[in-house]
Symmetry: C2
Amino acid sequence: MKISVANIILISIMLVTLPCFVRSQNITSHSNEYYNEVADSIINHALKYQTGYKWLSELCEIGPRLSGSEESIKAIFWAEEKLKSIGCDSVWLQPVMVPHWVRGNTEKAYISSSKLYKGKELSVASLGSSIGTGEKGISAQVIEVHNFEELKNLGDKTQGKIIFFNRPFNETIVNTFGGYGDAVDQRFLGAVEAAKVGGVAVIVRSVTSRYDNVPHVGVMAQIDTVKHIPAVAIGLIDADFLSEALKKDPGLHLTLKMDCANLPDAQSYNVIGEIKGSEFPNEVIVIGGHFDSWDKGCGAHDDGAPCIQTMEVLDFFKRLKIEPKRTVRCVLFINEENGTRGGIEYAAYADTTKEVHLAAIESDRGVFTPRGFTVTADSLILDRIQSWLPILNLSLIDYVRQGYGGVDINQIRNIKALIGYDPDNQRYMDVHHSANDTFESVHPREMELGSAAIAILTYLINEEGL
Amino acid sequence: MKISVANIILISIMLVTLPCFVRSQNITSHSNEYYNEVADSIINHALKYQTGYKWLSELCEIGPRLSGSEESIKAIFWAEEKLKSIGCDSVWLQPVMVPHWVRGNTEKAYISSSKLYKGKELSVASLGSSIGTGEKGISAQVIEVHNFEELKNLGDKTQGKIIFFNRPFNETIVNTFGGYGDAVDQRFLGAVEAAKVGGVAVIVRSVTSRYDNVPHVGVMAQIDTVKHIPAVAIGLIDADFLSEALKKDPGLHLTLKMDCANLPDAQSYNVIGEIKGSEFPNEVIVIGGHFDSWDKGCGAHDDGAPCIQTMEVLDFFKRLKIEPKRTVRCVLFINEENGTRGGIEYAAYADTTKEVHLAAIESDRGVFTPRGFTVTADSLILDRIQSWLPILNLSLIDYVRQGYGGVDINQIRNIKALIGYDPDNQRYMDVHHSANDTFESVHPREMELGSAAIAILTYLINEEGL
């Protein structure tokens, strides 16, 4: 820890004046100056060594981490080893059975009948959980719609057709998660709604704010009572091409060929590593993200780097000799993308253990520059966390506000605070669930400042309790 | 403007309850709800049409805008035409004589004598204002130093040597302008200090936070009483290579060849466009940036896109039929990078005009996601601007704090508030003054949210006064 002359003078003054101040405070608390110094030392370490960013390059080398895949298991062992090498007090794997969807080798869409466009291939990718088309593929006319109401109003025109959902991402919503939420029903429920009206397959405009031709995948719902039909995402350039082509040749036929499949559930694991609390080992602060990803790109922003941010918190504590009073536990949840099985499994454990879960912080919104934390907690607890803003602000946290925690930590019951790390999100949907989500899309300083922000909040909760 | 049912109900309630509220306020003010609606309409327009981003692609097509260059004049005419096409009440060019430095065709550094490294070329670029080396070039031994004190302590060892300043960018400073400020003395004063101790040329480690081999240029000082010597910036990879090479072969010789030159001052212009105030035409709000750039990349972040953000403010006002009460004037200052002549010239005009300059907002820190505004003003004025934070926050402005305005607007005397737009800066030094500063490095949403933020603040100052 860096102690300047000015700080030594300050500390000397405090030694005289502090006791009367301390009496009116929680006896476990330190001075703000002390907390600022700890925060500064964490930030300095993060930006100087950029350890997490280096770990990310190793993780991305392994490949993407689709639940049930060989790479996901390799990555799990990598994380286990890394947490051991940090010097955690314990590291373990919590077994979780996960859905095992495979993309296969073929995902292809081309215009198979048209005077104008025959042979034109489109940039598509199968959606997670989709069934395949069989070897012959599916050939049919295409009908473009923009929402489920428009679909229903088409009457029997949709029978035997490929339904093309083409409602664009709403760029006018400032928070890009809002734009995502505004369009994602087409991807998630498109196949169900299309099947209900006799559709034979679905093409969905990628839910993204970047104008390129990269398809953005993601999970789709399947309901037992509705026929399962195949579905693909399509890149924006080809979505616009197809829309224009349909205006000129409404009778064109498209052929889809996909050999993706749903296999039996596979064995997988949550990866858990912790530093035991020195005073209140029974009180647990969970920090984590989801370790699975989609299989395009390497799941750098979603959610490899965010997972590593929480692993790095433990590394900061060890390197800077910060001994937490309360247990700080990093949990890398498997299978958030298509099942949330890891989150559910950990919550089941939390229900049965005698430990008290104090708070959980999830990082699952990319690793762009820090902006804030969103908190699900009682107002008085929120006030308490907000009172730490001047310290958190050193790592560029500008707000702490009531809001969502995260898909995985939200499974935990009986916990005082569920906290979501909330970095800048303007670029997130550019890369989300796509081949754009690479190591190169991560900025080292932006990532490391986030690691520091999460570490500072973890440290403060650990010291002050909630 | 979007008016929802909820807003109609709200407005109906306000019609009953507002009068008593209004009485206690400045009579020129509108309700916060009204301001929120205006702000929303600006943000929606910005994100929907992304007009400024399209303009940026046109500007980058013209090329970089080094003061005195042909491209800079082309760009000035482009901006003049664009401001006219917006529908400004007046558009004019303010003549400014500017320094005319030219890079020439040659900027080359290679190891000319060494058993180990002979022939190795290094990635360098001449610094602005540097003299050339003459056709033969300069060949000499190289001495690496990290600061001016170390240089002075070398005694006569520096005589006849090429001085290599290699102090790295300080990554631990959270605000990257801090890291820049921490290292830039080497670039700005390196040649002066080296010449004082008999150095014959200077190589400076690029002041950047991105680890690549792209040299980052910028202006260097020249003092009449100290011999002028040539100086180049070197890419980080080659800076590290050279440092390692010097350890193994301290006697190696480097040859520098540069044909850059300082020509006589050239005719140039500030570009000015304005919408006249309907109630107080004599009260002026200046918004702008500097229109010149370095000649690597296209000066997208520095400072093409920021200039366009302020042009776009006028476009929003025209498209959304916002008629300002006070005059809103966009000034694109020429020659900030190597002379500030445009800023000085405009300030001279401001001194003599009978207009009152109320406030100036400068955008010159890139066009990343908005974070805040920094203000040089009396505390009560700062309080007033801070009271608008809930409205500004719609465009992601989290703070308004006492701080720097900008190089160009700071030339203006007799003005109530000098305001700097302060977006996220984590990626700024990656591109600053280098070939990395391209159209592709700009994100449309990040840029447009900044345009909206500046427009909202301009609108509020215009409505409320200061």
